[in-house]
Every structure is written in structure tokens, then in C-alpha cells.
């Protein structure tokens, strides 16, 4: 070290000196942290506060400990909504995942017209959920829906009910819509991952005479695992929170057959104005997700070498 350098701390205004201060990194991240705290953390802490209070019609009254949680946990409707969301997620996400991966592998084979195909495939994902909801309402609405009228009615399928009016079918119709919207996203994310894989291992495998199945399971899949884990987790969280399309297409009905926690929370807040219980619901769902994501993160980090 030169004498000039040693003297630098005395001149804290110089860039070099500033960088040596321990708080310098915090200054850099401060704007985004402040934004995060104001936009995300403060409302969340307030939601926790509300969940311990009797809060109805916008008025926060008595502190009632865990009463809102107890009420919610003993409410069949809450557990029904969890069941609906679980069914939705555990059917939709694996199908989107598999179809997305297959589609990505196909796209990765230098398919002709790929530059045109990729933007087209991305269209459903680019649509606002509200548009997706309206689009499928027009397609599947009872009696007048384009698909209902021209296909279902013409071939005498579902003559006594309609897709969204049937408690047995409505949830699966919503799952279908979700798959339609989000499979392209999975496909393109995986495709981008495939494009970024190094060519070396493939060349070595070719020299060793490995067949495509061996290449996929021993080279592609291990190298893709971190990406698959991250995208899968994000889609899982996103699918659990689905709201817009369900709100437009069924609003949770018929009965409560498509009522997810998001739909229930919306009703509790903006229809019933039972903000205390709605906050408790939000906190419970967050706790469940936090636990799940923490476990998933640890497992993915240790066993799959993701993250």
C-alpha cells in the first residue's frame, strides 16, 4: 500500500473512501429496501395486526387474540377453499410443467418457423388474466358460448348443464384455462434454459454413443434442474394465488366448488367487510407458503443444487 492509499480514509468524500465504509452497500440498496418495506412489509404487518382484532366494516375494534384464526380454522368453507386450491395447483402445475418441458425440447430441435412460432406461443401468457377470463367465458358460456353452442350442443354433449354451471366440471374447466394460459410460459422459460446449456457435454455424449433418452436423463435434466425447480416453484405459488380468471368465470361457484382462498379472501373483505378474518386468512396462507418455500429451498439447494 502506498502512503496515498493509507491516507484515503481521512477523505471520506472520495469514491474510494466511501466504498471502504461498511454502510456503503446499504446505501446502495436503501431505495429498493425502503420501497419494499413501504409497499410490502408495512401492509403485511398491518394485516397481521388486523388479524388479531375484531375488524368489521372498516372499523378496528377489540384485540381478540387468536379468535379470527380459530373461527377460520373451524370453518368448513376455509378448508374447502384450501382443497379447491390444492386440486387446482396439483393438477394444473404438473401438466403445465410436463407440457412445457416437452414443448421446449421440441422447440429446441431447430423446428422450422421457430422465430414465428415462439411469439405466437407466448400470446396466452401475454394476455391479461381478465381478458383470458372473458375469452373463455365467450367460448364456454352455457347456451351462447362459441364452443358450447357449436360443439357441445351440436354433438349433444352436456345437454343438461354447462361447463361453468356444473359443480363437477367447473373446477376442471378453470384448470384447463390455466394450463392454456401458462403452459407457453413454462415452455419458453425451459426453452431459454435449454438454449443456454453448454454444448460440450452433448458433444462428449455423442462421441460416447449415448442415445437421446440417455442424453436427456443424464445431461439435459441434471443441468436444467435448477431452472426447473425455480420455474416450478414460481408457478406453484402463482397458481395457488389464482384470482382473476376464477372471479370472471365462476366467482367461486357453483356453490363453493371453485372457491379458492383468494376468492374467499376477496369476498370476506369486499363483500362481507369482515377484514379481521380476511387478514387471518391471508396470514395463514402466507405462513403455509413460507413453510413450503423454505423446505423447498433447502431441499432444492442441497439435493438438486438449485439456487
Amino acid at each position: 500500500m502506498s502512503a496515498t492509499t493509507e491516507a484515503a480514509p481521512a477523505h471520506v468524500s472520495t469514491p474510494q473512501g466511501l466504498r471502504e465504509r461498511v454502510w456503503y452497500p446499504y446505501i446502495l440498496i436503501a431505495p429498493s429496501m425502503i420501497m419494499l418495506v413501504v409497499v410490502s412489509l408495512v401492509p403485511f404487518i398491518y394485516a397481521i395486526y388486523l388479524s388479531f382484532h375484531q375488524a368489521k366494516f372498516g372499523r378496528v375494534r377489540d384485540f381478540i387474540w387468536f379468535d379470527n384464526y380459530a373461527t377460520l380454522l373451524s370453518d368448513e368453507r376455509f378448508w374447502n377453499s384450501i382443497g379447491v386450491a390444492a386440486t387446482f395447483v396439483f393438477i394444473a402445475v404438473p401438466i403445465e410443467f410436463m407440457l412445457g418441458l416437452i414443448g421446449a425440447l421440441v422447440l429446441n430441435q431447430n423446428v422450422r418457423g421457430r422465430s414465428v412460432l415462439v411469439p405466437l406461443l407466448f400470446m396466452p401468457t401475454m394476455m391479461a388474466p381478465i381478458v383470458v377470463g372473458l375469452l373463455w367465458k365467450i367460448m364456454l358460456a352455457g347456451s351462447w358460448g362459441f364452443f358450447s353452442y357449436n360443439v357441445l350442443e351440436r354433438f349433444n354433449i352436456l345437454t343438461d348443464t354447462s361447463v361453468f354451471a356444473s359443480p363437477d366440471l367447473a373446477l376442471y374447466a378453470l384448470i384447463f384455462v390455466d394450463i392454456w394460459q401458462w403452459t407457453p410460459f413454462m415452455m419458453l422459460a425451459f426453452f431459454a434454459g435449454l438454449q443456454a446449456l453448454p454444448l460440450g457435454p452433448y458433444r462428449a455424449a455423442a462421441v460416447d454413443g449415448a442415445n437421446p433418452v440417455q442424453i436427456f436423463f443424464h445431461i439435459t435434466l441434471p443441468m436444467m434442474t435448477p431452472l426447473l425447480a425455480v420455474i416450478g416453484l414460481l408457478r406453484f405459488i402463482d397458481a395457488f394465488k389464482v384470482f382473476d380468471t376464477i372471479y370472471i368465470l365462476t366467482n367461486g361457484g357453483p356453490g363453493t366448488s371453485t372457491e379458492t382462498p383468494s376468492i374467499l379472501a376477496n369476498k370476506m373483505t369486499f363483500e362481507f367487510w369482515n377484514i379481521g378474518e380476511a387478514s387471518a386468512l391471508a396470514v395463514l396462507v402466507w405462513i403455509a407458503f413460507f413453510a413450503f418455500c423454505t423446505i423447498f429451498y433447502q431441499v432444492a439447494k442441497k439435493r438438486l443444487n438449485a439456487f
Binding site: 372498516g58 358460456a141 352455457g142 351462447w144 357453483p254 369476498k267
Partner: protein, 471 residues
């Protein structure tokens, strides 16, 4: 009950006492609002209302108030669901963006229990603000009395008398071939249903598959005997509750407001409800109060129970190809129970937001809206409408209307219409009960199960106590 009656009587007496001496003088004092509005000239008030054909007509009259008083009115119209959500959110937040908000009768329970509606009594008692020519005795009595007052206080004037009517295709009901076939099958003449049982027979008779003949012509698509609202929420349950259950002699609550859903009358009404759904379009569980008139207007159903204000928007030349081919009637009663008939209605009031900073100017506007002069103008300009005043029935636009059966049907409904009970948990109750209405209608639940489950839900939601607000 005694106290409730007494409180209302006291409020009405006070209002009448203030107004009567002056109304007898029949002061059609056009200058009242100009004079009363002077201290508030330049004030801007914001009013939120629902968009229906009625309000679209009214919006043409509102500028007259601005000219008369100098009070500027920002008149915002939103659809049924938005006006509920946005209006309630504004009132409950205490923000006071809107000075006045239209509340459906059903919203009054929750909003009153939240204490966010400003009582009007002090304004009514203020001679500078109270229109001497108001003549409240002219308001259609029961909807006004049951909607605008609570605990002896007045919270509004009546603004909208939304009501259900029976709606059918006259061209089908008067078709000679169909009439002969119907008589041969059911043993009585085909015509607009007067009883629920007749409505069921008509629904069954006209439910036909594509290729079958309807009025002598082969059908290009399936045709349905009836269309009803069946969506989760909306007014699905109020239709079932009042037009069916009450007509069957049952009710949601007893006289003390206690749950009373698990009764033989409710089961019988639910059985009829279920049966009617089998004659309705497959998408009935998706149909809202907007879809029902659309389906009727598209000509794929023979009859319906629908909100008359929405009918006004459909039965017009250029809107529906079947305009002029419809006929209307009173809500069918249960056979044998015609003397105790009921008809679903949603008398609604525009209330002053408790957080309003301009309550006096807003009061003047509400009073002006409900005044006979403006109501007459509204009916004439709209070539009809849904009256809130008895005198409106005699106006030429109604009396000499091209659609006389519609107004006769409205009058019939309003003669027996009343506001919904004021319940704090009305939204929760309606949400849950409309789910039961759907499940029974779709055959996912038996009527007996529906009645039992409905009762259990009511008991749970009301905590084993009365579901109505104490008066």
C-alpha cells in the same frame, strides 16, 4: 315489533306534521330549490348511482338541478356490482369521496350497523331545506316505509323501486297451435301464468329440442321453457326467497328474525325451484340479472321472472327482435295462496354519506330527485319507468303506454313489495344461501338437504340469535 311500529309511526308523523300544512296549500313553488340552494351555490357534490335505463334518463334531468340551484353535481353511474363495491368501500373507509350513494335495500343492514349513513331528520325538520311540496304521502307506501326508516330515523327518500315481474312471449302463448296442444295436455287454457304451478306447466310445455317445432316452425337450436337468475350472489336467492318461498308460505326468518328455513313450505318451494331449473338453459347457474333479460331478448326462452327496469332496456324496437311480442304479469302466486301473494322487489334509497362535507347541498339534491315534478319528468322523458310515487301511475307515459301489461305488472308487484329485513350479515347470508339455491337447482342437493343446510348456515352466521338488526 310494537316498538318498531311506534318508532316508524313517530318518524312518519313528525315528517307529515312538518309537511302537511304546507302540502295542503299545494305550493308548486318552483322557486323553492333556487332559494334553498343559494347558500350552497358553487358547491360541488358527488353522487354515485347505478346504471340502468332509468338512471340514463335521469342523467338528462340532473343538469336542471344545477341550473336551478347553482350546486354542481358530479353524477357517476356504475354497473350493479361496481356501485355496491365502490359505494360501500367509500362509505366504510370514511373517505367521503361521494356525498351521496345509491344503496339497494339489501345494503342498508350492513351500512346502518356500520353507522356510515347520515340520518336526514335534522334536514327534514329545517324549513330552509325541507321542500314544502314534497308530499311524502304520495310515495308508494310500503316500499318507502320499510326502506327509508330505521329506529325511528329517516335515512333517505325512496329513489328506485326495483321490482320483479313475470315476463313471457305473447306470440307463443297466443299461438293457436300451441294453445290447442297445451289445452290437450294440461286441460286448461294457455296464457300468462297466474300461479307458480301454471308457470311450471308452461315451462315444461315449451322446453323443446332443436329440430322440434315451435309455433309451427322447426327450431334451429334448443328452446327453453323458462329462464331465471342462477348465478352465485346477485339476486338469485332473493328471487327464490320472495317469489317462491314466501309465496309458498315459508320465509327465511320468523317474526323475531330467527332462522326459519327448515320448514315444509321451504322444502316445497325448493322442489319447485329444482323442477323449473330442468326447463331452463344449461347455463342457468351462470346467469346474472343482466343475462336473464338478454336471454329473453334473444328469444330462446318462453318466460321468466325478471327485474322490470332491465326489461325496459330490452323490450324496445331495435334492441330485441322480439320487442312488442312480450307480455307481462304479476309474479305468479302459489295456487290456493293467491290472497297472500309476494313479489320480489328492491326498493332503494340514495343516502348521504356520513363523511360527506356537503350534506345540506346533497340533501337538497336528493329531495329534488324525489319531488313529484322531477319524478313526473323522469317518467315522461323515459316514456315510462318504475314509479316511486302513486300519482305516477296516472301519467300519460304509463297510462297510455304501448306496453300496458308491463306497468300493470309493476304496479302489482309494488302493491305488495317491501324492503328486505335489515341484517348486518346480509352479504354473507345471501352468498351462502345463493350457493344452496344453485346446488338445489342443479340437483346437487335435495330440497330437504337444502332447507336443512340453509337453516344450519343461518344459525351459524347469526350466532344462534336474531339475524335482523335490533330496533
Amino acid at each position: 315489533m310494537m316498538r318498531k311500529t311506534w318508532c316508524f309511526a313517530a318518524a312518519l308523523a313528525a315528517t307529515t306534521a312538518l309537511v302537511a300544512p304546507l302540502t295542503s296549500a299545494a305550493r308548486a313553488d318552483d322557486s323553492f330549490y333556487a332559494e334553498a340552494g343559494k347558500p350552497y351555490a358553487g358547491t360541488t357534490i358527488r353522487v354515485l348511482d347505478e346504471i340502468t335505463p332509468l338512471q340514463e334518463t335521469l342523467s338528462k334531468i340532473v343538469p336542471d338541478f344545477e341550473k336551478e340551484t347553482g350546486i354542481k353535481v358530479e353524477w357517476e353511474l356504475l354497473n350493479h356490482f361496481e356501485v355496491i363495491n365502490k359505494g360501500q368501500a367509500d362509505m366504510l373507509s370514511g373517505r367521503g369521496h361521494y356525498d351521496a350513494i345509491m344503496l339497494h335495500g339489501a345494503q342498508l343492514g350492513p351500512m346502518l350497523s356500520a353507522g356510515v349513513i347520515m340520518p336526514l331528520d335534522k334536514f327534514v325538520a329545517d324549513s330552509k331545506l325541507s321542500d314544502p311540496g314534497m308530499n311524502v304521502a304520495d310515495f308508494i307506501a310500503t316500499p318507502y316505509k320499510t326502506t327509508a326508516f330505521f329506529e325511528g330515523k329517516q335515512y333517505g327518500f325512496i329513489n328506485w323501486n326495483y321490482n320483479h315481474v313475470y315476463w313471457a312471449r305473447e306470440d307463443l302463448l297466443s299461438n293457436p297451435e300451441e294453445m290447442a296442444a297445451f289445452k290437450a295436455k294440461y286441460g286448461y287454457d294457455l296464457g300468462p301464468a297466474k300461479t307458480i304451478e301454471q308457470m311450471r306447466d308452461i315451462a315444461e310445455f315449451f322446453t323443446r329440442k332443436k329440430g322440434e317445432k315451435l309455433a309451427g316452425k322447426p327450431l334451429e337450436s334448443d328452446f327453453y321453457g323458462i329462464v331465471l337468475e342462477g348465478i352465485k350472489g346477485g339476486s338469485t336467492f332473493s328471487n327464490l326467497w320472495v317469489n317462491f318461498i314466501e309465496n309458498y308460505g315459508g320465509d327465511l326468518l320468523d317474526d323475531k328474525g330467527m332462522p326459519n328455513f327448515d320448514t315444509p313450505q321451504v322444502v316445497a318451494a325448493l322442489k319447485m325451484w329444482r323442477e323449473l331449473w330442468t326447463f331452463a338453459p344449461p347455463g342457468i347457474a351462470e346467469y346474472s340479472l343482466v343475462d336473464v333479460p338478454t336471454v329473453m331478448g334473444n328469444g330462446i326462452a318462453a318466460q321468466s321472472l325478471a327485474w322490470s327496469d332491465f326489461v325496459l332496456g330490452i323490450d324496445k324496437p331495435g334492441v330485441s327482435p322480439y320487442a312488442g311480442k312480450f307480455i307481462y304479469g304479476p309474479i305468479p302466486a302459489k295456487a290456493g295462496n293467491e290472497a297472500h301473494r309476494h313479489a320480489d322487489a328492491e326498493p332503494s334509497v340514495t343516502v348521504i354519506n356520513a363523511a360527506s362535507e356537503h350534506p345540506e347541498a346533497t340533501f337538497l339534491f336528493l329531495e329534488w330527485l324525489a319531488s313529484k315534478k322531477q319524478q313526473d319528468k323522469l317518467i315522461e322523458m323515459g316514456e315510462g319507468g318504475v314509479p316511486i310515487r302513486e300519482s305516477s301511475w296516472a301519467l300519460p307515459a304509463i297510462k297510455d303506454s304501448d306496453n300496458p301489461t308491463l306497468f300493470a305488472a309493476m304496479k302489482s308487484s309494488l302493491d305488495v313489495a317491501k324492503a328486505r329485513p335489515k341484517m348486518e350479515k346480509y352479504p354473507e347470508i345471501i352468498d351462502a344461501m345463493s350457493g344452496i339455491a344453485q346446488e338445489v337447482g342443479l340437483g346437487q342437493m335435495t330440497p330437504e338437504q337444502g332447507a336443512k343446510e340453509g337453516q344450519a348456515i343461518l344459525v351459524k352466521l347469526c350466532g344462534g340469535k336474531s339475524c335482523t338488526l335490533p330496533e
